[in-house]
Amino acid sequence: MTTSIANTASSLPGETLADPLTGKTPDGGAGLPPAVSVRQSNRSLLHGLLTNKKAMTGAAILFVFIALALLAPVLFPDNPSKITGMASQEPDAEFWLGTTAKGQDVLALTIHGSRSSLFVGLTVGFASTFIGILVGLASAYFGKFIDEALSLTTNVFLLLPGLPLLVILAAFLPPGLGTVILVLVVTGWAGSARVLRSQALSIRSKDFVAAAVVTGERPLRIMFGEILPNMASIVMGTLLACIIYGIGAQAGLEFLGLGDVSTVSWGNNLYWAGNEGALLTGSWWVFVPSGVCIALVAFSLALINYAVDEVTNPRLRKIKKPKPVKPQPTKPVPTGKRAAA
């Protein structure tokens, strides 16, 4: 699975989204049935995340990168591709991360690179999740023929090998940011659609949905007003997985030289590093920063995703091991109480 990219992309290997990371089975096993009222469960999710160490660590890392991306033009007002130093300089006081074989400042390239990478990742993530929600909800709500047709399409897209398809699509389409985003969404939406569909199916069969149908609510209102709010945690998990996929797959595509090589992004930085022989000349500082940035962003998202699972699925929560000395009768663990509420 991850042998497929993001797999590519999870996928590379995995190619099937980041499911194995979060341990979610395709039938959305991680979600709890919507117990009480919608607002309450969503508030406890948010509250659970705010008090979760993993989630907060992830959010902090992510925040730093978003801040850097926004501040890039202030920190490095010059064009980052401009040649400002000698070729292949090691990191020193002037160039904190050294220079490329062309003599560009690696730090400037890395910080400017975050803009394109985060933008593509977020766009791809939101777009694929949105399509996944539409397909999943429609499938679950209407059932019968519509479900059959949509599920068939989803399953076919899931089976088409992601990275090779990416490569071929990127080869046929004119290079550019739009192409990269389009290609990533086309190959990335199916996984989220499948996960969201199975979750929506289980909510579809609940009494309150049946009640809404009987009272004559419009389908769109039921799908988005009744079913969707109960899927908050799984939608969030899917979104995070899709963003990770987007960032990783973009980097992979660009590394192959199939993106728009004139822009500055983490993937393109790595492409140029490979192209200019950074590996063989031993200029490790040229290819290390962009890779570490991609990993940190993906890791922060994975942490948040992991935390969402923990908050919604009490079984996965860390067990507070009873001390060997056997202390007084155990107090109820605070987090457990909250989830039960």
């Binding site: 699975m1 991850t2 194995p20 341990g23 399953n155 089976l159 490979g274």
Partner: protein, 325 residues
């Protein structure tokens, strides 16, 4: 049996979709592939070859549906045309010479990652909160966050260029002729270490966490408590009772990954210039070798579909619930 037939139907549809996609892409994308290829290979191609090429690719003045049926017929009979970048070798021959390397690389990495990852997952779930359970998952998630082509670059730099322990490119040294001698096999093995290692590193976390999470659910089942109450040895309960029943999702995942082995190592192959299908696909794309590109894509898709179908058949044997449905 009905289940199997239904699945078979589904895979046939999926295969048909990928053939159709292959057919439509060059025809509806901007730019005419034949002219692009001609412009690129001007010194090597004669003008009269263009007509032949159009015939081969099926991009001619015939109506679209006629081209389409011709194309379907060609694909089903295995006539994928002639490779342009490796003229005049037929596409099938080029692919045939590379599939083996990809299977070797991807297969080795997959088996190691799945076996080790699942064992770690079983251990982690069995000793909740123990050393394996608390230290490994975050570490493996972190390693898994790196783009695997980047890890490949790092491994190549560290162990290949700097330390010089392992060869840095190709599947075997040019100096040895391929044969079934110990010398050649060990040479191939040395070339395999780095690329396989990077794939194992990134994918092992997924296996471990998947197994751990299902195992945790299984451990809460009554029959585990029952087994413990009976006083069975922990090792027996762990493997025979808990792990065995938590295995099913892993088996499915293994089957699906099996299919992606053929196309999945693309980036690693590129970094190490490993002569497999993925490396060739990129070369075909760069060389605008459309017939080879399409042939490779179809081969990769067929592998994925076939592996999944085999898993479906296996699944019916393993999980009786599927049969009753």
């Amino acid at each position: 049996m009905r289940f199997i037939l239904r699945r078979l139907g589904f895979y046939l549809i999926a295969f048909w979709v990928s053939i159709t996609l292959n057919f439509l892409l060059p025809r509806f994308m901007p730019g005419d592939p034949v002219s692009r290829m001609f412009a690129r290979n001007q010194d090597r191609m004669q003008p009269e070859q263009i007509e032949q090429l159009r015939k081969l690719l099926g991009v001619d003045d015939r109506p679209l549906w006629e081209q389409y049926f011709g194309y379907l017929q060609n694909m089903l009979t295995g006539q994928m045309g002639v490779s342009m970048s490796r003229f005049p070798a037929p596409v099938t021959e080029v692919i045939g010479s590379q599939v083996g390397w990809t299977l070797l690389l991807g297969g080795t990495a997959l088996v190691i990652a799945a076996v080790v990852g699942n064992l770690l997952g079983i251990l982690a779930a069995w000793r909740r909160g123990g050393a394996v359970d608390s230290a490994l998952p975050p570490l493996l998630i972190f390693i898994g966050s790196f783009p695997y082509f980047w890890l490949a670059m790092g491994a190549l730099y560290l162990f290949g260029v700097t330390l010089g322990w392992f060869p840095i490119r190709h599947a075997f040294s040019d100096t040895i002729a391929p044969s079934f001698s110990w010398e050649f096999v060990s040479d191939v093995g040395m070339h395999l270490v780095l690329p396989a290692l990077t794939i194992v590193l990134v994918s092992i976390g997924g296996w471990m966490l998947g197994m751990r999470n299902t195992m945790i659910a299984t451990n809460a089942e009554d029959y585990i408590t029952m087994a413990e109450a009976k006083g069975l040895r922990p090792g027996r309960i762990m493997f025979r009772y808990a792990a065995r029943n938590a295995m099913l999702p892993s088996v499915t995942a293994f089957g699906m990954s099996l299919g992606f082995v053929v196309g999945g190592a693309l980036l690693t192959e590129v970094v190490f210039a490993y002569p497999g299908v993925g490396y060739q696909l990129l070369a075909a794309v760069q060389g605008l070798d459309y017939p080879l590109m399409q042939g490779l894509f179809l081969t990769i898709t067929a592998a994925v579909l076939l592996a999944n179908f085999l898993v479906d058949i296996l699944y019916v044997r393993l999980d009786p619930r599927v049969r009753s449905n």
